[in-house]
Amino acid sequence: MKQLVVLSGKGGTGKTSLVAAFAHLAARPPSDSHPSPVTRLVLVDADVDAANLELVLQPTPLEEHEFTGGDLAVVEPALCDGCGACEEICRFDAIAVRLGNGFPRAAVEALACEGCAACTYACPRQAIQMVPQVVGKWFRSATPFGPLFHAALQPGAENSGKLVTLVKQMARLLALDEAYPLVLVDGPPGIGCPVISAVAGADMALMVAEPSMAGIHDLERIWGVVDHFGIRSAVVINKADIYPEGSQRIETFCRERGVALLGKIPFDLAVTHAMTAGQPVTADSGGAAARAMTAIWHQVLYQLGETA
C-alpha cells in the first residue's frame, strides 16, 4: 500500500482538479493497452480549512464524527477573585481581568487561547479549567471513484495539523484492512503544520507548480519541505503555457535537483467547466488538459512502482 500526496506551496495551482482526475482515471476499467496496478484507491482531502475535493466527487456521506482540537481555558466566575495572576502568566494575550457586573473577573479570548494551561497552574484559586473543544468534523463518504475521507474545520479554529493526521490515519486503516493499493491525498497549500502532517509517511509527493514568478518561488519552498523530510518527489506544471519562460525555469529547477518532471498541463477552460459541472476534468472533457492529466497519471503509476 502506497501513499501519494499532492502539494503545491502556492494555493490555486490545481491540486484538487488533478486529484479528482486521478481518482476518475484509476476507477476506469483496465484495458490491455492500459494495464494498471492501481484500480482502486482511497481518497483523502487534507485541505481541512477549505475542503474542495467533495465538490467534484459527489460524495455520499456514510459516517460523521466530531473532532476535538485543543483545550480552551474556561474561568469559573464564582471562584475567580480577579487577582490577575493568569493575565500575567499568559504569553498569548488570551486572558485578562475585566469588570463584569461590578466585579473584576478573568475572561478568556477564545480565538487567542493556545490551550497551554499555564493559567490553570498559576491561578491561586484553581478557578480555571481546560475544556476540550469540538472544532470540526471528519467524514467517511462514498464516491463513484472510491472511499473519501474528508473534514471540515470550523473557520478560525486551530489544530488543522491534528485533523489532517486523523483523516489520513483513518484512510490508511481502511486501505490496509481492505487491501487498497493506494491512498491519494489532496494536500493543503503552504508549508506549515497542516502540510507537514499531510506529507508524513508519504511514499511520494507530487508538487503541482504554476509557471508564474510566485509559483516558481513557492515550488522551491515546498520542495524544501519535501526534501527536509526525505520524501521522494516529482513535479507537474499546470497552466504551463501562460508563461513559457516560467515553465522553462521550472524544468531547469527540476533538472538541477534531480526531481522528475512528469508532465505539463496547458491552460484549458475545460477545467473550470468540469468544476462547475461537479465532475473530474477527465470525466467531463477529452480536451488538452484531460489528455495531459491522463498521461501524467501513467507517469505517476510508473514512479510509484519504483518506490520500494
Binding site: 477549505a50 486551530e158 488543522s160 503552504g190 508549508i191 506549515g192 514568478m213 516560467g246 462547475t276
Partner: protein, 293 residues
C-alpha cells in the same frame, strides 16, 4: 487603519489585489505587510529595497542539569508533549513546543532556562517611489506560522534616514490562504477585510467559510471578484444575500494573466485600475471612519 486582503481559497489573487492597492494609493503613506509567511509572494511583485532584517526566535526550554532532580513536573504540565523525562534525563522536542512557559513556571527546582530558537526572519524596506514593505519568511520545516505573523504585525522596523515610513501609515495586510489560525492571526485587530473571490464553485465555497471568520471577528468586509466570467450568478447572488458589497470586478483576461505571471503588478499592466483601487479605499474609509481620513 489596517486593511486585510484575504480569501479562503488559495490563488484567487490576494497578493495581486493587495500589492495593487498599495501601489495605487499614492497620496498617503502606505505600509504593506505580507503575512503569508509560509509562501510570501508580494516582494516578487513590489521589488522592495530591503534594508531592515530581524531573525525571529521562539523560546525553548533548556535544562540546568545541576539543579534538575528528574521529578518530571515539567513533563506533567506540558500539554504538547514537548518535554519528557526519560532515563532520568529531560528531553525537549523543539518542534512541538509552543513556548508557553508552563514548564519553566512550574519547575520546583528552577532548573529550566529558556533559549531562543530561530523559526524565521522578518524583512522590511521601501518600494522605490512606492509604499513601505515588510514580510515574514517562515523557515522550511517549521510548523507554526502564528508566532511569526504576530511578530510581523507588531514589528516597528528601522527605516533609512530621510525615507519613507511615516508615523501612521495605512497598513495593508496580505493574508495567507485558508480559514484557520494563521488567517485569524492576520485578521485580528484589523479594521476591514477585502475578500478576493473567483466565480468558480471552489471560490464560492471558500468565500462562504471566509465570511464566517470575518463575521466571528466582527470585521466589516467587501468582495473583489477576480478572474470574473459571464457566469458568475451564484457568486453575485451570495454577495447580495450576505450583504457584502462587490467593490471591483476584474475579468478573466489572458493578457492580465500573463503579465501577473511575469511578476508585474495589476496596476502596471492596466493603469486604469488605479482609479478603481482608489475608489475601493474611499469606500473602506467611509465604512471605518465615517468619511474622516
Amino acid at each position: 487603519m489596517r486593511i486585510v486582503v484575504a480569501s479562503g481559497k488559495g490563488g484567487t489573487g490576494k497578493t495581486t489585489i493587495a500589492t495593487s492597492l498599495a501601489l495605487a494609493l499614492t497620496d498617503r503613506p502606505i505600509l504593506l505587510r505580507d503575512c503569508d509567511v509560509e509562501a510570501p509572494n508580494a516582494h516578487l511583485v513590489l521589488s522592495p529595497q530591503l534594508t531592515a532584517r530581524e531573525e525571529v526566535s521562539q523560546l525553548i526550554p533548556s535544562v540546568v542539569e545541576t539543579r534538575c532532580t528528574g521529578c518530571g513536573r515539567c513533563a506533567e504540565v506540558c500539554r504538547f508533549h514537548a518535554i519528557a523525562v526519560l532515563g532520568g534525563r529531560v528531553l525537549v522536542f523543539p518542534e512541538l513546543c509552543h513556548s508557553c512557559g508552563s514548564c519553566v513556571n512550574n519547575c520546583p527546582e528552577v532548573a529550566l532556562d529558556e533559549q531562543p530558537r530561530v523559526i524565521g526572519v522578518l524583512e522590511a524596506g521601501l518600494v522605490p517611489n512606492g509604499p513601505a514593505f515588510a514580510h515574514g519568511v517562515l523557515n522550511v520545516g517549521e510548523p507554526m506560522a502564528g508566532p511569526l505573523i504576530r511578530r510581523l504585525k507588531g514589528w516597528e522596523f528601522s527605516h533609512p534616514v530621510g525615507g519613507g515610513v511615516s508615523a501612521d501609515p495605512v497598513e495593508i495586510l496580505d493574508a495567507p490562504p485558508g480559514t484557520s489560525c494563521p488567517v485569524v492571526e492576520t485578521l485580528r485587530g484589523c479594521d476591514y477585510a477585502l475578500l478576493v473571490s473567483e466565480p468558480t464553485p471552489f471560490g464560492l465555497h471558500d468565500l462562504r467559510l471566509m465570511v464566517e471568520v470575518v463575521r466571528a471577528l466582527a470585521i466589516p468586509a467587501a468582495v473583489i471578484i477576480n478572474r470574473d466570467m459571464p457566469n458568475n450568478r451564484d457568486l453575485e447572488r451570495f454577495c447580495r444575500v450576505s450583504q457584502l458589497p462587490v467593490l471591483m470586478r476584474i475579468p478573466l483576461d489572458r493578457g492580465i494573466g500573463s503579465a501577473l505571471a511575469r511578476g508585474q503588478s495589476l496596476v502596471a499592466v492596466r493603469p486604469e485600475y488605479g482609479e478603481a483601487f482608489r475608489g475601493v479605499f474611499a469606500h473602506i474609509q467611509q465604512t471605518v471612519h465615517g468619511g474622516v481620513p
